[in-house]
């Protein structure tokens, strides 16, 4: 397995380089550059030329590309043109935007799969019942809802209306922490962070959970009609054992594929949700970088997302082996 993983990671390197090279040239083709935001009667064109020179933007594109490539292969993401800070400080570390987004996406992932699988199993076991129909309708309702609209509805309901009408449960509309967070106790800090995470995690997760529920229902239905399930029941096993030990494990394989796909998908979905909730994560960093034509930042964030695709697929493959012994032996 270890050898397999190493082979997969090595195989991903040319793929990542290819993706990044493509992005490098596409973002440079887009009109404007990092100095475009200084277009203003009050800023001399001479100053803008100096800025372009200082940033190396007056060099030929292929030189810029090789300079970026040389830094990149040495693990140096460079400086953000927009924020003029080392990109590693912006992206990584305890206060980096990557960790902020990971917190959100991991909670969402847990929500997506816990909720989605549970609903799917209930629906499959109670096929064509009232519960199945109601859950199908509800799942489709949330699945069809754009995440940005759902996010705004959550804010209006559970923050604004809850506050105006003094509901017992209220959530903050934005941010990762409250004003005065630093003065809270350790437990208070954990609670405060959790409270801030609920609405964005729901906005990011509910629609996808509905999708997982549909997949789970289909996959479970396929499995529970197979002969080995009938055999298990004939052996006198309890329904709980039949469903959770025999059927679920076999029905998980297509769901694990979804796990690999959802990790990068959540990162892209976080773009809108993070903007609406004022969450200082990767999604907002990407949008700001693109709007400001912050080339090094665009490249670094693209790399992180591309790496997430690779990691997501790898995690899927490892989990396949966990649930299906045949893959392990191969």
């Amino acid at each position: 397995m270890v050898g397999y993983l190493i082979r997969r990671i090595l195989g991903a390197i040319p793929l990542l380089l290819g993706i990044l090279t493509l992005i490098f040239f596409i973002i440079h083709i887009a009109p404007g550059d990092p100095t475009s935001r200084f277009i203003n009667p009050n800023v001399s064109p001479r100053v803008i030329e100096q800025m372009r020179h200082n940033l190396g933007l007056d060099q030929p594109l292929h030189i810029q590309y090789f300079k970026w490539l040389w830094s990149f292969v040495r693990g140096d993401f460079g400086y953000s043109f927009g924020q003029q800070q080392p990109i590693k400080d912006i992206l990584f570390g305890w206060h980096g935007v990557l960790w902020n987004t990971l917190q959100l996406t991991l909670v969402s992932l847990i929500l997506i799969f816990a909720l989605g699988m549970l609903i799917g199993i209930v629906q499959a076991v109670r096929q064509y019942s009232l519960a199945d129909n109601v859950l199908s309708f509800t799942a489709l309702f949330f699945y069809s809802m754009p995440s940005f609209w759902f996010a705004l509805m959550l804010i209006l309901l559970f923050s604004l209306q809850a506050n105006q009408h003094h509901w017992p449960v209220q959530f903050p509309a934005s941010g990762m922490t409250s004003v005065g967070y630093e003065f809270l106790s350790w437990g208070g800090k954990v609670g405060d962070r959790f409270k801030h995470m609920i609405l964005p995690a729901l906005a990011l997760g509910i629609g996808n959970a509905a999708g997982v529920a549909r997949y789970m229902r289909g996959s479970m239905l396929e499995v529970i009609h197979q002969d080995f399930i009938r055999t298990a029941r004939a052996k006198g096993l309890s329904e709980r054992t039949v469903i959770f030990r025999h059927a679920l494990r076999n029905a998980l394989i297509p769901i694990i594929t979804l796990l690999g796909l959802y990790l990068p998908f959540l990162f892209s979905g976080a773009v809108l949700v993070e903007t609406i909730f004022g969450w200082p994560g990767m999604g907002r960093a990407i949008v700001d970088a693109i709007l400001q034509r912050d080339y090094p930042m665009v490249m670094a964030t693209s790399f992180v997302i591309a790496a997430m695709v690779v990691i997501g697929n790898l995690v899927s493959d490892v989990l396949y082996a966990v649930v299906d012994p045949r893959i392990r032996t191969e």
Binding site: A30, P31, G32, S36, R37, F38, I39, N40, P41, N42, V43, S44, P45, R46, V47, Q50, M51, N54, G82, Q83, Q84, Q85, P86, D89, I90, H95, V97, L152, I155, L156, S159, L160, N163, Q164, P172, A173, S174, G175, M176, T177, S178, V179, G180, Y181, E182, F183, L184, S185, T275, I276, F277, G278, W279, P280, G281, R284, D288, L291, Q292, R293
Partner: protein, 575 residues
């Protein structure tokens, strides 16, 4: 000389974004150009409490030498002192000494030299940076050397282009020698000062990436009333009082939260979890007025003008001033303003000078074009643009009067305005096709002159100098305007030693430009900020929103209002 009497010029991008977030003021300002006192909520200022500000974006480089964004400029105004403190009073920029404003380093200034082309400043004694090091005239001289240095590439570089030298005569006396006497010498020497002892160890090109700017909470050394206490990138900035600054600010802390989404900002406002919310769009005003909490709306009056720009290089009709005039006459600007609910926050525009300028705005000689559809049709007929084939669109020499009107995407107001303009032009046989471009792409299309017609806005610089927009061949002359007569007038105006002598020439140049109608001036509008009822002492006017942060205060009985989100914070405030 392009100048901007603020910490930093607001970028055009900021203008575009601000257009999406146009603002209003709920209080009567006593007419254009009137000076604005700090709010009149009354009471004796009380110490303590945390004010929560909501901004659209995060800070980048809040240091006078390397400010990048408009918000950086605002923070520089809060954290750094200049020799004098600029302010907006009665339709003019004034330069206050420490006798009138504690943010000024100098208590006295005087023109010196035979032709008065130098200014000598006397600085206060005993002033210190936030790390305890004395502030001296050497800091001033070094700051101005750096502002002029190409390695630093400061956006203020052009503002100091007329300075010949800055000489620190002793620790508290500094003299600015200018290349010539001109009206904006005080402005050029009022830029906030940076600490030499922090940055002199790195080459000029390294200042922008100095460690103090990477970790401003630990490293930023300031002279103003507040310093950065904590920074959560992209989320919040906590400002705490600088112990070296006198007078001590009333507030214990100011927390600036970053919330890009307008609806979320409104929810924070209505939930009472914010005190000072920037970037309020006009359509949100009724909701804010209906919200509990005694919210008031403050305006930075007349700081942007919205225009229709015509590019003569892309359509032959735009080369004819009479056609441009006809296009302007076909638009009922007051009805556009009314129908979009902006009447309270906009003024129909007649020319490049905002009504806020007491000495430059001349409503008698420059009036908005009359709304006259028949007159517009007659003008177009006279210029040979007629609808010979009866398809509803005029043409001349086989070229139809059809073009693309471009604006930036994501700005609901501009989208609405372009739709109305399209309909009103249609009535006189002009076919405008609408197009929206991503903001940076749109902004680039203007100086590169790849657009045909565009709806955009410029920020109003608090300066008389309009030459960057209208001089022949100037890079920001996006309409390709060129008039030797106007160029001559502007040159003569720039050569005058005083504003009194220059202003008549600027007014004459503006009048001549308006006759040629290179733009259709639509309206001047005011950026808006919502301020909660508990926040007192706030002064917002055309100069900006953060000009007296040390005077903001919250009545003691209301300092716990934020306790809903931060109970422990209030306790700390009491300690």
């Amino acid at each position: 000389m392009p100048t901007h009497p603020r910490g930093i010029p607001r970028t055009l991008l900021a203008a575009a974004l601000a257009a999406a977030a146009a603002c209003t003021g709920g209080r009567d300002r006593g007419g254009p150009g009137a000076g604005t006192p700090a709010d009149s909520a009354g009471g004796t200022p009380e110490r303590g409490g945390t004010a929560v500000i909501v901004e659209l974006g995060d800070m980048e480089k809040p240091m006078p030498l390397v400010n990048q964004s408009a918000f950086d400029g605002d923070l520089s105004d809060v954290m750094y002192m200049g020799l004098t403190r600029s302010a907006w009073r009665d339709g003019r920029v004034v330069y206050l000494t420490s006798n009138d404003n504690p943010m000024a380093l100098a208590y006295h200034w005087a023109y010196v030299g035979a032709d008065s082309s130098a200014i000598r400043y006397r600085m206060r004694h005993g002033l210190r940076w936030s790390d305890g090091v004395p502030i001296t005239a050497a800091d001033v001289a070094w700051t101005y050397r750096m502002l002029a240095d190409t390695g630093v590439a400061s956006v203020r570089q052009e503002d100091v282009a007329q300075i010949d030298s800055v000489v620190a005569e002793n620790d508290s006396t500094v003299t600015f020698h200018f290349k010539r006497r001109y009206p904006e010498m005080l402005f050029a020497s009022s830029i906030p000062i940076a600490p030499q002892h922090v940055y002199s160890g790195v080459p000029p090109a390294g200042i922008r990436t100095h460690a103090s700017l990477t970790d401003p909470a630990r490293g930023l050394v300031v002279s103003g009333p507040f310093k950065v206490g904590a920074w959560q990138r992209g989320a919040s900035i906590t400002l705490v009082p600088n112990p070296e600054f006198t007078p001590k600010p009333y507030l214990d802390r100011v927390v600036i939260r970053v919330i890009p989404e307008a609806t979320t900002r409104l929810v924070e406002l209505r939930n009472g979890t914010a005190d000072f919310v920037r970037g309020i769009s006009f359509d949100l005003v009724p909701q804010i007025r209906a919200a509990a909490g005694g919210w008031r709306l403050e305006r930075e009056q007349g700081r942007f003008w919205e225009y229709l720009a015509y590019n003569p290089a892309k359509h032959p009709a735009f080369a004819d001033p009479q056609v441009r005039r006809a296009l302007g006459m076909a638009l009922d600007v007051p009805s556009i303003i009314r129908s979009l609910g902006m009447a309270e926050f906009t003024t129909p525009a007649a020319g490049p000078y905002s009504p806020i300028f007491r000495d430059l705005y001349d409503p008698q000689r420059m009036r908005p074009l009359p709304y006259d559809t028949a007159g517009a049709k007659r003008l177009l007929d006279e210029r040979g643009w007629t609808d010979a084939d009866g398809d509803g669109v005029r043409e001349k020499d086989g070229k139809p009067l059809r073009f693309t009107l471009t604006t930036n995407a994501g700005n609901a107001r501009r989208n609405d305005v372009t739709l109305i303009v399209q309909q009103q032009w249609k009535r006189i046989g002009v076919d405008a096709r609408l197009r929206q471009l991503e903001t940076v792409t749109f902004l680039n299309s203007l100086p590169q002159k790849t657009y045909e017609a565009a709806l955009g806005s410029w920020q109003v610089a608090l300066s008389s100098d309009i030459s960057p927009l209208f001089r022949s061949g100037a890079p920001q002359n996006i309409v390709g305007y060129g008039s030797p007569e106007v160029d001559g007038m502007m040159d003569r105006a720039l050569a005058q030693p005083t504003a009194e002598k220059a202003n008549p020439l600027w007014r004459a140049a503006a009048e001549r430009i308006v006759q040629d109608q290179p733009y259709t001036w639509l309206y001047f509008y005011d950026p808006l900020t919502a301020v909660s009822g508990r926040l007192r002492g706030v002064r917002v006017d055309s100069y900006g929103a953060y000009q007296n942060l040390w005077e903001w205060w919250i009545p003691r009985g209301q300092q716990g209002a934020a306790a809903r989100t931060a109970p422990a914070d209030t306790e700390k405030g009491k300690r």
